[in-house]
Amino acid sequence: MVDYLLTEEQKMIKELCHKIALEKIKPVAAEYDEKEEFPWPIVKILADSDVCGVYIPEQYGGMGAGIMGMAIATEELSWGCGGIALAFAATGLGTFPILLFGNDEQKKKYLPVIASGKKLAAFALTEAEAGSDAGSIKTTAKKDGDYYILNGTKQWITNGGEADIYSVVAITDKTKGARGATAFIVEKGTKGLEFGKKEKKLGIRASATREVIFTDCRVHKDNILSREGMGFIVAMKTFDSSRPGVAAQAVGIAQRALDEATAYAHQRKQFGQAISSFQGIQFMLADMATQVESARALVYSAARMIDAGSKDIAKVSAMCKLLASDTAMKVTTDAVQIFGGYGYMREYPVEKLMRDAKITQIYEGTNQIQRSVIAMNLIKELAKNK
């Protein structure tokens, strides 16, 4: 294991989250995957163990362990189950807009209940016609006195229906293009906020994914994050901070695949010997281990840069998400290959890892979008240095 020189606090987070993953999540992961149920009993354990508030500042009841704490926790929990871990990680995505752009009152109102695990959060940006092209969202927020009236449908919202707190991006002024969107906090129970059916997915099946539907939903202007017109900035800055979390989820899934494949290769005998004695398998395992470690190193570097307050985080944040998710897909596929026919069976854990890994290449910006972000920054840097 590479020594990442973690602080005492970070070691504690890693150790505790691994213990929870090993003892509480791993034993039930297959069942949640099969039943597609939301893991409320695990959320309760995370809440009681103070894990929900790992990345939230101490003054709001959290641990103040930053993006690095968030990444370590997500990685370890995802080692147990990438879907179950998402109840925690997607709450992080819904919380970052408040952390980054919320005013004092908003922070005081929402962060402590999220830190204590009493409430989950979700981020609602994507729509049917607005995925990678987030600029073409159609959900509108029309000003009416002190209120805004929201109309439209958000699609594929992780934690949708289960979360109590939603960070929502809607168009307040169509004529202003990218400057015409605004971010709002909307609470479950607000009249006009409803949820669509629960989606059936390939992987991360313990996670709930639903439509979030606004029908003349009145939201007070005090619930605006930052100010009118800042919606896309809020979204983009949120992603810059949240991507190491998705990347950490991918690293956790990949590490689990490596662990399972190594143990299996050692125990599986063919031609009278353990298959781990064959160079063909050894080289696969060696590559997998090297790739997982590279991904982890970049994720931790990105997380540390963000925590240190670096301004130029978009590129490294996109890079770590890109590398970690592509690694997860490759390593989990290789793990299935090492398991052979058994790997294809649901009775064994690796096919689920492969299904769970796929989403990390797609959500919070497809890996094609990540490459665009990286390339844009390369060009910007070149122009700046000229």
Binding site: E8, M12, I13, L16, I20, S49, D50, V51, M63
Partner: protein, 261 residues
Amino acid sequence: MNIIVCIKQVPNTTQVRINPETNTLIREGVESVINPFDTYAIEEGVRIKDKTGGKVTVVTMGPPQAEDALREAISLGCDEAILVSDRKFAGSDTWATSYTLSQTIRKIKDYDIIICGKQASDGDTAQVGPGISAHLDIPQVTYVRKIEEISAGHAKVERLTEEGYEIIESKLPLVITVVKEINEPRMPSLKGKMRAKNAQVLKWNADDIECNVNDIGLNGSPTRVIKIFTPPPRKGGEILKGDTHEVVAKAADLLKNVIIG
């Protein structure tokens, strides 16, 4: 309510391997953990505190490294920790151990309930809990699977027996030993772990707890270990096959032989 939980640090049995030559446990390099049964005692102590208020003091007699077990207990919700450690305690059997713990508890002075795990996973004697009660001359209930009521000066508990369970009422202070049916121990919390890291563990030696030197360590231990050996492996059973009536008759005969001889 003042709650005392007595714990022991034991080798992690899920990691222990057997030396195939000598048939003894390989203890080197094996991580130490809180005796699994004691984790239920800690959890029950913390639950009582959550319900009635007060504090949980966790106590262990052991070598200096047993402090780790005490800190873990703090991370699980205990408030104070006392490590009773002295070279003079070396070689203690269950009598001397329970005497030493009872002297510790006398020094703590204020206590309403003392909770122990039903037995330790290494020694398996189940004698230290009852021993503490005898030395302190207070009531005991062993194998408790549920605390029905607990209030100032009074408790009502369910005690697991081979046939079922008994409901026992007792005045406090009381010693109970608990079985794993009593609760599901919680995970440690991050804030608990931080608290445990910074907590002060009290360290008492034989003089601090005013022990009679003849009652502690090897001197104070009436038990002598004559020999340690691995019991012979159980012989395989016999499967009776054939006509039901014949098989039943044969089984009855075999049982008669076992019982009557």
